[in-house]
Symmetry: C2
Subunit: 352 residues, 2 copies
């Protein structure tokens, strides 16, 4: 291909043979992920997967969307409701009825008349964020050469403190816990000076004790529609982000998971022409055939996915590369990244 | 409507009559923009508009995309080329040939064989950013109550210094100049103590002198595809962002404008299934009927748009509200926003 165009180089460098004389090119984030050992990948339990089958498209092709639910301790009240709604097959026959460009695709009961199953919890607004007990810690270097604006925080492995710092305009910093992106408010604790076994003086690390943490509205994250406060939504009306991260919704709406498969079936839908992107003509709505917890499907039909451990050294290298692109296409690394520009790698498990 | 759902309240509050006893609700960003005086809106010259007509859709509906070109001094070398390409009708018969989810839709000559018009400039990489001459200044309060993480910088009017500060993970800060979002590297100059005519001591303002500035890859911004450095692209291969802002491309690729009309005709296209979202089957490509500078169209057919002056007091209020949502739907203002979450309001001019 003569004309590689935007970032085509990144893919090409995976297949072009390197000349022996040339230094190995610096790997791209995708190449770092591709080289991860199998042990860095963590299987997502089928009990944490929601499988949404839309009606087939105009050409008769199936449209399956797979959602990973947030792990504890985040948003668990709504997730309990979502499990009940799925078990009751409540969404079957409902629809995707709102698609607003650069914002959200939303689904649920457009008639607003369908009775909810019994026993759904009313979740408190306090559950939009999680108050830390000091058990979650992040670490970063206090003597790096980067200016304070590039503060990067990841949940650490002791061997791989991140070398970067990145500020979050919506929080003190950010973190990745159990494969999910979180904004955090943290308190800094001063690290201790240490000496290595060889007598070498080690860098001093400061520790950030997470005070509060909450899941964030990145592309593909799934949230719970609601009425005015103090309503917090039941979980019956859901949406996913199909544009730039609307982070102002963080801590104002529950985030309950993320789309990990088939988001194109939502993001490429025609935009609604009504207010807020609602479809004006009911015929425009996209029918939902069914939404099931994967565990309700026959074993052979259960989708299988895994994510790159956000506690792994590979993830730390990947996050660093997302902040500082040095692969051949780039001429100037940014020196930082916002949390939504470090998407956690997720991949389907291919049967052997 | 019983079930208002996510942000439907913002629209509803525009039409519901307020009870006399109730305090007026705090306006949403959209309401602030709707209340702007006519003098705050600036017409975009037709000579700065690029009109792309795609082939009609499957139902025969026209698909027009309108792009506003970047104003000087940004990216002008590529924009000169784009004007020549449009004048030569070079894009007629080319196609949208790449649509990658959460990234870009790209158009140009998929055959890579079409000869370019003569006289296109080869633009230097140094043109990805603009070095300031000290003439562009921003101002912010040095004694606000907000912590440093919420630094907001807008190009000021003397009467409306922004009350907020927002950090940018990719720069020192950000600014809006002539209606366009810019990342900036700036040096701070200490302000002077002043006293008002009434003898009242005024707050001290620090000044930030912009050292370098560059247009950023927000949703809808248009950039120039290129090969490996030192190639910088001619402007013949263009793309627009249809997902979360890929800010790592800033200063690595030229940003030449933004889509201000019809982005849904690009963002809702089927995603390509080839590497990087290229359409594998040429039949999937979306034909471009024509791309013209608006000035080449008959006057009656020229699209007319205007943007909210980013130097206006209304914009300062709007930007503040985007950072601190206090309208009825929200329970917790974020206290900050990233630049791409403060989209500059643009509207079509409706003929009277």
């Amino acid at each position: 291909m003569k004309h590689l165009l935007l970032t085509a180089v990144a893919a090409a460098s995976l297949v072009l043979p390197a000349l022996a004389q040339e230094p190995a090119p610096i790997p791209s984030p995708g190449e770092i992920v591709a080289s991860a050992p199998a042990s860095d990948w963590i299987a997502i339990a089928p009990s944490d997967l929601l499988v949404m089958d839309l009606a087939p498209d105009a050409k008769g092709k199936p449209r399956r969307v797979v959602i990973q639910l947030m792990p504890a301790p985040f948003s668990q009240g709504w997730i309990g409701n979502i499990r009940k709604l799925a078990a009751a097959h409540w969404w079957d026959g409902t629809s995707v009825n709102r698609v607003q460009d650069n914002y959200v695709a939303q689904w649920g009961d457009a008639t607003e008349k369908k009775a909810l199953p019994r026993g759904l919890a009313t979740v408190a607004e306090s559950e939009y964020q999680t108050v830390g007990d000091g058990s979650i810690k992040t670490v970063w270097t206090s003597n790096g050469k980067q200016p304070a604006r590039t503060m990067m925080v990841v949940v650490p492995t002791p061997k791989t403190p991140p070398s970067k710092k990145v500020a979050d305009p919506y929080a003190s910093s950010y973190a990745f816990v159990a494969g999910m992106p979180l904004a955090v408010l943290s308190k800094v604790e001063r690290g201790q000076a240490k000496t290595s076994a060889e007598g070498e003086r080690l860098p001093i690390w400061d520790y950030a004790v997470i005070d509060k943490a909450w899941p964030v509205h990145c592309y593909g994250m799934v949230g719970v529609g609601r009425n005015l406060s103090p309503d917090t939504g039941s979980g019956a009306e859901l949406y996913t982000v199909i544009g730039h991260a609307p982070r102002h919704l963080d801590r104002n709406i529950a985030v309950v998971g993320r789309v990990i498969g088939g988001i194109e079936h939502l993001s490429s839908l025609p935009r609604g022409t009504g207010a807020l992107g609602f479809y004006e003509d009911p015929a425009e709505r996209v029918a939902i055939a069914s939404i099931r917890l994967a565990t309700e499907l026959p074993a052979a039909q259960q989708p299988r996915f895994e994510y790159l451990s956000t506690e792994s050294e590979t993830f730390a290298r990947y996050a660093d590369a997302r902040q500082n692109r040095r692969d051949p296409f780039f001429i100037l690394p940014a020196g930082g990244a916002d949390i939504c520009n470090i998407p956690v790698p997720v991949r389907p498990v291919v049967a052997k």
